[in-house]
Each structure stands twice: as C-alpha cells, then as structure tokens.
Assembly symmetry: D2
C-alpha cells in the first residue's frame, strides 16, 4: 500500500471523535483490509456488563469502511449505505478486534464484510460478522 | 403498560453505561414501542463532524431491544441476534430520536424495527431505518 | 401516476419470466407503492409443503424494485443492490401479496421496504418483511 | 459426514418442489458446507434476461439452510429466520453455484453464510453473498 493512502486513512480515523471515545486504534492497514482494536471500556458496556452492540458495530463498521477507502482514489471519502450485523457471542474479554475486508470493489458501491473477535488471554473468539455496502463520495 | 414493566426497562436502560456515554435518554416507553433520544455529542462524531453511524446504530438497536422487552415476561432480558441498518441521511442537528417497534412478537424470536430521526429546529428528518431480531434470554 | 410510468412497469414486469413461472401478477401500481400477488403453486413449495422462501423473496423483492422504479425517470431500470428478509410465519394460504414501498428516493440509491402477507379465507397474515437498496441504472 | 445425515439432506432437498422448478441440484454435502448448482433457465430470468434475484436467493438460502441442517440432530428441520443478500454482478453464464457454510452453530440459532457464483466457460464469478440465521425446529 502506498504511503499517501495509508496516511489518508490514519488521518480520517484520527478525525473520528467516536473512535477516541471508544479507545479504538487503527492496528493494521493494507489494500482492502483494515484492522481496528478497542478495549471494552466500562463506559461502553450494556446492562449485563458486556461490551455494547454499539461498540462492536462501531469498530466493525469503521474497519469495513476503511477497507473500502483503501482501494479508492485519494479524493474520495466513503459513507455506509447499509450494514447488517449478526452477533454470535457476548463481547467479553480484554479487547475487541475488528477486521474489515472488501468483497467487491466498485466505482458506485463497494461491498464489504467485517469480523469482530474478542481477545481474552491471547485467544480470539468470533463475536460478530457484518456485511454491508459503502458508497464513495467526494472528499 | 404496567408499572413493573416500565420500571424494569428504565432500570435496564440505566445499567447501560454506553447510553450514558452517548448522553442518551429513554423518552417514551409503551407496549411494543420505545423511544430513545440522544444529543449529537462532539465525542460521538465521524470524520466529517456528523454523528457517527455507531451512535445512530446504538440508540436504534437499543430502542428496538426495549420495544421487544416491553412485551416479554418480567424474568426475561433480550439480546440482539442480528440487525440491519440503512443509513439515509447524515446525522446532523440538535438531537437524534430513535423509535423502536415490535413487528412480530414470539417466544423464541422477536422481530423488530426502528426509525432514527434527526431533530433540527423542531423538524424531524428520517436518517436511518433498522430491521432485526431480538432473542429473549433469562434475566 | 402517469400512464407512461404505469405502462413501463407493466412492460418490465411482463418481461420477467420468473414472475410467470411463479404465477405472479402486478395487482397495484402507484407512485412509490407497488403490489404483486402470487398463488402458492405446488411447483414453488419447500420440503414441508409451505411456500418456499424463494417465492416470498421473489415477489417481495420485485414489488420493492417496482416501487423504486415508479419514482424514477422513464429511461431508468433498477437493480437490487441488497435486500434483507425476515420471515415471520410459514407461507400457507390461498395466495401471497407483496406490497413494496419507497422509504427514501435518491438519484444514486433508493431505499425500499416490502411486506408480504399470506391470504387465507379473506384474512391476511404478515409472513415477511424486507428492507433493501435499489440502484437506478440506464435502461 | 455420516450416511444418515447425508441421506436426510438429500431427502429434504428432493421434497422441495421449488428446487425442481429451478432445475437445482445438490452437488456437494459435507459437515457444515453444502453446494447447490442450478442452470439459468429461461423460466427463471428477470426483465433484462439475466437470472432473477429470486433464483440466486433461492439456491443461496437453501445451501445455507442445508449447511446448518448438516450439523443438527436427525430429528430437526431448519427454517430461515432472516437472511440478507448483496448482489454483486448479473447472473449470467451457464449455471449458478451456491456454497453455504455455517459461521456459528447453536442449539437455538445457527448463523450461516452463502456465496453464489456464476459459471461461464469454466470460470467462476462471485455474483452474490448472503448472511443469515437458521432456526432448528422439530422435524
């Protein structure tokens, strides 16, 4: 991946206040594949003390969006047109890792997916899968 | 709606740290229909300064979940099995209002929907629609 | 609705061999709202003898697509970018009726929904809800 | 995979009249992975002459459902609770191949995915991805 694209993604990520609020970090950036890692902060839990679905969704959606952006011209941004999440297991552990991928790039629509794993004592458990559509828009 | 059910929903909502973090409030609770209102905090924005999709999702999903819970026995909780969001317009304005509804109640699965509106100068704009499945679990 | 738009939709519907195979008919066409009715043919059942999910999907998706098309310029066609179906009850009865609606029209994307009902002895049961995205393409 | 499970899946598939109507065949059955192949019959096309989304959906959904069933006790059937399809390319070619997989098995819910490819002159093109939830029910 060229430096300009990587820089643009990092810059866009840094500009997302929500990612800061959730303590999320961009932990890998490659062509068509982006990883975001976040702790399960006590400020991001649901009523049973597990990570909130909104946390899992936020990092899953962002990882998918940046995976799409990594394949687009530098003068583009992306917005999520739609995305669906299936939640497989409670968000419990030391951190969550979301890995976004591009399934089908396109000029008008980019179809993406994302897997979210919970990390606990070095082991990963798949807790959610997302499938959606990103739309390139002028920056 | 009986007081016990309303109290249980309020209690569960209060226990969601994520809702506090987002500044969200439970603004209406009825049988099969729940409303959550949240400001667009500067801590919950995306890279263009609009409300993050994770904010829209979080209150839309929670409103749908509590709509399901409002029709279930008092010893139940619900978890989201899956939910899909279509984003229609940027989250811009003074606040967001999510209204969850039950489409089809069931003992094993509750099918739900949620509309999220942006409020600006007293006018509402529909910014997202969600459709999903909640699963009753023992409290 | 003007006659040209109605004619175009009828013409496009007639050109869908799949609709003939399923015995489906266009039973209502209005601006942003289209209804398709189909019998539950013995050739369109699943293993328990109920209507196949593919039948329910096919008419639900087409009703939503034509609802989108009804709001577009005459030189457009639409294709389904994505659609999600929640199945609520078995497809049992005399016929199925799918009603498609436009949630949000747009030049690039049209967000749609569709309800599918089973008709039995004059009564309707909601058996499925669909939510999706149509993309206008040149005819 | 044991013979009893394979036989049960073949038997259930044969009982689906819709699969016969579409000319679909069960071309592979393994634990948690099932493949269905179908021609693009002139009776299953949409208005532009491509395979109808209802064809792609029908075999994608069935492949995912049988993938789920392959991991369940012999006295179960499955029904689709919900499934979402993203359509990536027109259904053009000699045949369509749907490959269903289990993402997460469960006693109450089985989360599944399915890829549908178009075959043309020996080459495969991915035309659709599905992600959904199957529910085990008594046979």
């Amino acid at each position: 991946m060229d430096n300009e694209t990587a820089d643009r993604i990092r810059e866009s990520f840094e500009a997302q206040a929500m990612m800061h609020t959730l303590g999320a970090q961009l932990t890998q950036v490659a062509d068509g594949a982006v990883e975001i890692t976040a702790p399960i902060l006590p400020t991001a839990t649901q009523q049973q003390g597990f990570g909130h679905a909104g946390l899992t969704f936020s990092i899953g959606d962002s990882a998918a969006g940046y995976a799409a952006l990594s394949l687009l011209p530098l003068d583009c941004e992306v917005v999520t047109a739609e995305i669906k999440i299936n939640l497989l297991a409670p968000a419990v552990g030391d951190a969550l890792v979301a890995r976004g991928h591009v399934i089908k790039p396109g000029r008008r629509l980019v179809v993406v997916s994302s897997d979210v794993h919970a990390l606990k004592d070095g082991a990963e458990t798949l807790i959610a899968v997302l499938q959606g559509t990103m739309v390139p828009v002028p920056r």
